[in-house]
Each structure stands twice: as structure tokens, then as C-alpha cells.
């Protein structure tokens, strides 16, 4: 009975849609499979971070004092900016998914690009935070070399610009990528491939987001240091960091001599930086956990930019239809999770007090 309709069963994928894999019966089964798959993957991601959350909890429970001492090194404003940027990127991601559901490929491309740029801004700000800490030897436990001593930038260029060597080092690859993407975009335009040209232009804009974040963060740090130096000079409470001001003012009376105008970026006598001798030996453990958590999160942001680029490219190709938008939704879910993890990391690391 069943044989009559069966012999050429495997040829039936003629009536499949363009993007339905041969082993699925229909678009719905494919979408459901993908959606279940990405949710399970997100569960594994949560568990992947769970080890770090456990380590954090244990250390904080057993040694609350090192968290008290360490959190003053983290800048709430930069962390807050990054939080806002990521929350906004989740909004644009949701709008991108919405557009793809309405078969609006232009809208999907636009909102995906904004999401990518936000991700890059986040990384730019993160680069400022990291390089600033590395300059002062705020490293993991065994490499902990924190000092308030004046550290001159080593490279002439970075010295003139008043930026950290570490920041320059972190920015080399983005700089190369920026040039490469602009060049590729122009070449693609010349060989009359408008989609590829737009794609590389989008990537160039994304990398531009990194520099936007880095430059913005850098200017903020310059102003902030200048301001806090001035404030502690006038024996006033710094607006943002309340803890270490008195200590800095007494330990470093020279800070009072630095007015706003004379401030030098290579000096770090601002109120972020308490006396090294007053710190517990294990403050470095906090930064071990900080670097592991934020580093792993940054790797996920980078991965997210990769996935988003793929969505962006396929949007430019016009692949999304109201009956085929699964990949946008899957990447969207991933992106929301990366955002969500940051929503936990920010208060846990920055808002301890």
C-alpha cells in the first residue's frame, strides 16, 4: 500500500523553498529546529559563564574586603555608557528582527548595521578601560604591579598624543581592518559589485564605531583625570569617586599643584587610585575575575559582530522573507543573551558600593 507513492520519495525537494534544507519537511520544521537549537545553545552559554559567576560569588562571600578595595578602580561612567550602548543595540537588534519578519531587507540591514556599530563602540570603550588599567599595573593576581608612580608613555607618537601604548597596541588591528574594509569597498564599487561594496562599507563603519568609542572614552578619561586632580587639589570631594580622595590628597600633595590646564595625561594622580600599600594582597584576584569575565564577554561581542556581519550581508542580498527569517532571529537571541550577561556583569563589578 505505501509503496505506490514512495519509490521516488527523495525527489520531493523540488517544491522546497529556496532556503529550506533537504532534510526538513517544511519551513516550519526548519524554523522550529533552529529556534530550539539556539535556545539550547544559549543554555550552554549561560553555563559556560556560570563557573565565573561561582568563582565571583565564592570570593565575594569569603573576601568582601577585596571587592570593597578593588571596585574604586572601575569607572562607573564608562561602564554605564557601555551598558546604555548595549541596551540600545538590543533595541536595534529587535527592530532588525521585526523588519526581517516584514520582508523589509533594507530595514534589517540598517538596524543590523547600527547593532554592529554599537558592539564596536562597546569594544572601543572597553579598550580604553583595559589600557588605562594595564598602564598602572592593575593586572591579574600574579602579575599585580599596581603603582601610583608616574609612568611615561614609551613611544614618541603616543607620548605626543597622550595616549597609552596599550591602547595603541589594541588599536593596531582595528586600524588595519578599517583601511582594508575601505579599500575593499572601493574595489568592489570599481568592479561593479554594489552589494559587496555596501557590505565592506558597513564593516568599515563598524570598525569606525570602535574608534568612536575609543576616542570618546579617551577624551572622557582626560577630562575626568583633570577634573579629579583639580578637585582633590581644592580638597573637595570628587563627584564620582568618594572613597580614596582624602588619601590621594594627602599622599600626593603634588597633585594639588596640577591645575586643569597643566594636566598631563601620563600622570595618574587622580582619585581612582588609592595608595598601593593600603591594598590587600589579593585585590588582584578581583581583577583576575574581572578580566576573565569581561574578557570572555568581549570575545562573545566579537563573535556577535561576526554573526551580525553575516546577517548584514544576507540582508543586502535580500534573503529575508516573512516565511524565512530564522537566522536573524537566532542571531538576535544570541545578541540579547550577550547583552543580558553584561547587564549582570555591570552591577556585579562596577556598582559594588
Amino acid at each position: 500500500m505505501a509503496v505506490a507513492d514512495t519509490a521516488h520519495h527523495h525527489d520531493h525537494h523540488h517544491d522546497h523553498g529556496e532556503f529550506i534544507a533537504h532534510h526538513f519537511d517544511n519551513a516550519e520544521q526548519q524554523f522550529d529546529s533552529g529556534k530550539l537549537g539556539i535556545w539550547i545553545f544559549l543554555v550552554t552559554e549561560v553555563l559556560f559563564f556560570s563557573g565565573l559567576f561561582v568563582a565571583y560569588t565564592l570570593w565575594r562571600y569569603h573576601h568582601p574586603e577585596i571587592f570593597q578595595q578593588a571596585h574604586v578602580f572601575l569607572d562607573k561612567v564608562l561602564g554605564g555608557i557601555n551598558t546604555v550602548v548595549l541596551l540600545f543595540s538590543s533595541l536595534t537588534m529587535a527592530l532588525a528582527v521585526r523588519c526581517s519578519q516584514m520582508s523589509n531587507n533594507r530595514g534589517t540591514a540598517f538596524y543590523t548595521l547600527i547593532t554592529m556599530v554599537c558592539a564596536a563602540i562597546f569594544l572601543g570603550v572597553k579598550a580604553i578601560e583595559y589600557s588605562h588599567k594595564w598602564d598602572q599595573g592593575i593586572l591579574v593576581r600574579s602579575l599585580w604591579a599596581y603603582t601610583t608612580d608616574h609612568q611615561e608613555a614609551q613611544w614618541t607618537l603616543s607620548k605626543q598624543l597622550g595616549i597609552s601604548d596599550w591602547l595603541v597596541a589594541l588599536s593596531i588591528i582595528p586600524a588595519i581592518l578599517l583601511v582594508a574594509f575601505i579599500a575593499l569597498s572601493i574595489i568592489a564599487r570599481l568592479v561593479a559589485n554594489p552589494i559587496l561594496s555596501k557590505f565592506f562599507a558597513g564593516l568599515a563603519i563598524t570598525v569606525g564605531g570602535y574608534f568612536l568609542g575609543a576616542v570618546g572614552g579617551h577624551i572622557y578619561m582626560l577630562n575626568y583625570e583633570a577634573q579629579s586632580a583639580a578637585n582633590s587639589g581644592h580638597a573637595q570631594v570628587a563627584p564620582l569617586v568618594l572613597h580614596a580622595d582624602d588619601k590621594v590628597a594627602t599622599d600626593h600633595p603634588t597633585a594639588a599643584a596640577h591645575g586643569v590646564d597643566h594636566h598631563h595625561a601620563g600622570e595618574h594622580h587622580d582619585s581612582h587610585h588609592p595608595d598601593p600599600k593600603s591594598l590587600d594582597r589579593d585585590v588582584g584576584i578581583f581583577f583576575s575575575i574581572y578580566y576573565c569575565m569581561t574578557g570572555l564577554h568581549a570575545v562573545h561581542i566579537l563573535g556577535g559582530i561576526g554573526f551580525l556581519s553575516w546577517i548584514f550581508y544576507r540582508s543586502l542580498k535580500g534573503h529575508w522573507r516573512s516565511d524565512y527569517f530564522g537566522p536573524v532571529e537566532y542571531v538576535g537571541l544570541y545578541w540579547h543573551l550577550v547583552d543580558l550577561i553584561w547587564i549582570y556583569l555591570f552591577p556585579m563589578l562596577y556598582l559594588i558600593d
Binding site: A2, V3, H10, L36, T44, A55, R141, I285
Partner: protein, 579 residues
Amino acid sequence: MATAEVRHELFGHAEQKNYLTHSKGALSWLLTLDHKRIGIMYLIGVSAALIVAGIFALMLRTHLFYGDSSFLALKWLFGEASQYNSNKVYNQMFTLHGAIMVFSFIIPSVPAALGNMVLPMMLGAKDVAFPRMNLASFYLWVFGTGFLIVALMRGGLDTGWTFYTPYSIETDTGVVYATFGAFILGFSSIFTGINFLVTVNTMRAPGMGWFKMPLFLWALYSTAIIQVLATPVLGITLLLLIAERMLGIGIFDPRYGGDPVLFQHFFWFYSHPAVYIMILPAMGVISELISVHAQKRLFGYSFIAFSSVAIALLGFLVWGHHMFTSGQSVVVTLIFSAITFSVAIPSAVKVFNWLATLYKGSIALNTPMCYALSFIFLFGIGGLTGLFLATLSTDIHLHDTYFVVAHFHFVMVGGTLTAFLGGMFHWWPKFFGRMYNDFLGRVGCFLVFAGFNLTFFPQFVMGARGMPRRYASYDPEFQVFHQWSTVGAFVLGIGIVLSFVVLLHAVWFGRKVAGNPWGAASLEWQSSSPPSFHNFDHKPILHDPYDFDSIVYDKGLDTYVLREFMDPNQVPERVPVTH
């Protein structure tokens, strides 16, 4: 009604048109997205890992034949004064034996090799949900195993497969390579798990409810739950260990205020559930073997199904029993001990149900059934000796002795390896369309069984008398046990090699068989042998996977077919499975 030609096309021996001959060339295999080919590549890979790690085992058993402290096997190879002639080499041998066996062989053996080939067919599907991820999983396995081999080249590895801190931070061997390898292998395992969960959820044949699935699928599903929930924790643990070694983050390293016991908690939070990643799929294989080769409906289907899920869930709550002597609080230790005992319940449920299935079944004592019976015996001993170790007072005495070594080898080798071999003998005719020499298959099974017992039974005695594990030398009183054990290891090795020879011989020279030589009722047998590229040339007809009355022998095809497809000129009869 089906003509003879159509019947042959659907259920016969597929001479030309099958997944093996679908396309030719190395790339058609290396880049394939077909679950059957990926399964076979996995099969080749894990078998190679088994052989490599098995050679390490034989070398360290050779060394232990005498209680002195020279590395005997390599002394023969490299001479008396060689740098390899030391206890350091012994340490590296047992470490790499353990690491490769656990991460590269046992964990992927049944799920990724056999499961990959069988799971979609049992569901009546054309492939797993994410074929590309399936292939990626295989290549991650290759890279991960490659890193373990690199660790061997770069100074070896002498931490034991558990990588306990602080020694793993201090030793100058290739810990970073090995842990990175294990990290990658973890992702390979996660990919397989995600694939199986989704495939079982969304791609069951229309009408196949959860309780119409073969029990192998319940076992693979439970395994996949553990793979997905536990493996990421291993991933982050190994990353932190790498960071600890390279940067000194101070989380596990006591020199910097870190807590080495925290590493043990993290490690066993994965690695105890991983024990069930190793044994659950093996139990699933045994459920199939017992019912098919006894031609009897499985006794207590839902009990076996839920016991798999119960083992998977309980497996997450018992990790602390590896650390009874590591300085846990007494309360925690008591709780872990109690929960550990509770794992015995679902395990025993399975064993009793298998035995009840055998009762009054028409048992064919062929190779797969011999392996299944051997599994029940060995797993029984392995499981019961686990209770000795779950008991706090006896564990204090037995901890880190050969008793523990014997216990987990009874479960991992006596259980998983036995089921893996049994599963290969069961599904071999399906995937290669050839029958092996059953007599030699049974001889191989007997050698595996006898050699295994000879190797590990003396270790229970040694362990109970206080022989510590992982020592390169021992007191004279233990020598006779070690010598029996070494002899047994070689018998076991010969048995495994013979089994592989029998299987490989069958691929080219075996008697051709048609679709369903065993009279099995699950869906994968409703296809030609070897199956076609898309698995089924017709939509498989859904029915109870353990309803053996619906299967009848077809003389024309010399195989079993569904009643509906039987040659109308023939009187239905049930013919026992013979060779």
C-alpha cells in the same frame, strides 16, 4: 501490492544505490553532511583513539609486571640507559591513557559514532537537524584529539586525566595543550548534544510520540541533556586552568590565595555527569540488543525510559563523592553519599528489566547478544562496587586505591566498551550490508570478557588490600595480582583486535544480507542494507519498535519484512534468526 523488484529495492541488499556508493573521492567523505558517513568517520576516529590509548594501557601494564621502577616496555625499545626509562614515562602513560580514552574515545564512542548513524534512521528522518554542525563536531574532535597528541609530543602530560591543581599548575609537561584539547573536545560533544536534542524534538516521523521511540533514543536524549548542561562547565574550568597556568589568575593556585579544591568541584561538576555521558548511551544500546536478539518486547518500557532521565538528572547531584577525602564538610559529604546511593535505583531498574525481557524470550546467542549478556554481568559488578565507594567509611579506606580503578573500569570498559562493540556487531549488517563471521565474533567477545575479568578482578583484591593507584612500583605482596592483571590486559587487547578484524573482514568479504537480518522492528531496519543516501526509499511505516509480531520472514529476500510487505504467495511464518 509490492512486486518482488520493488520489495527488493526497499528491503534488499543495495548493490549500487546506497550512501557508501553515492559519491566517490576523499572529499565526498571529508566534506560530507550525511549523518551516516559522519558516523563512520567518527567510528574510524574513535577506534583509532581506542587503539592508541589501549597501547598506552598495555605499556603501563607491561611495566607493572615487575614491581621495580624501570619502564619495562620502553627499556626493550630504547635500551637500559634511555631517557625514556623512568617513572616519569609511566606517569605520562597512565595520564594519556586516561585522557585519550575518556575524552577522545568513550565520550564520543556510542553517541557520536553509533548514535550518529542510527538516531535519524530510528526517527524516520533523513538526517540530523544540523548536518553542518554535525560535521563541525567531527572536525572539532579531530583538532581536540590532535592537541592531546601534541601534548604527548611536547613533553607529555603527567597530571592524571583529572588535571588536579596545584600539580597541574606546577608540572612542566604539556598541560596547556592537553587542557585546550579537552576544551575543544568538549565543544565537539556539545554540538552533538544540541543536534540530538533538536533532532529528537522536531524530526520524529509523523505520529511517532515520545513513547513510541526506541529506548536507544531515550538514552541518547538523556545523554544529550548532560552533554549540553555539564560540558560548558568543563569548558570554563579548563579555560580558567589555562589562564591560571599562563597568567597566574590566582583562583585555583594556593600560592596566590586560590583554592585548589574549587578546581575539583568545578571539574567533577562536569566529570561526574560525564560518567553518565559514557554509560547512558551504552545502556540504550543494550536495551536494543536484548529485545531484538531475544525477539521479545522490552519489559517495562517506560521504566527504562524514565530511568535514563533519572540517571541524567541525579548525575548532576553527586559530584562531591569524588572528594570525600578532599576536606569537604561532613554534612555535604553525607548528602553526597546519600544521593549517590539513589543513583543505584534507576540503574538497577534497567538491569532487572533487561533480565525480565530475557525471561522466556527466544534468545539467539549471537555476537551482539553475547556482548549484551557480558554487559549485564560486568556492569552489575561495576555498579555494585560503586556502592562500596559511596559508603563513607569504606571509601576512606578504598579512596585512590586500585579498587577505584577496577570499579570504574568495570563500568567504563565492561559497560561502555562492551556495549560499543555489541552495538557495532548489531548495526554492522545494516550499515555495510554484510554479515560477519559470527563464530569468530563470539570468540572475540569471549576473549574480551575473559581478558577483562582477568585484568580487573585482581585489582579489586589489590585495592582492598591497600595498593594505591597511579604508583609506578609496588610491594612484593601485590606482584601476583599485577601479573595476572597484565596477562589479562593482553588477552583483552587480543579480543578487541580480533573483533575489529572480524568486522573489517565482513566489510569486504562478508555474506551479503538484506534490510533486516535480525528481525528487528525499529525504523532503521525498514530500509535496504546499506541504506540509500536519503535513508529511506519509502516513508517508513510507523509502528511499535518492540512489536516483533509485526515482522515476518520473507523467503524471497532472505530477510525480515513488515507483514504488509510480505510476498503474498507466502504463508506468514516466524523463523528464528540464524546464520
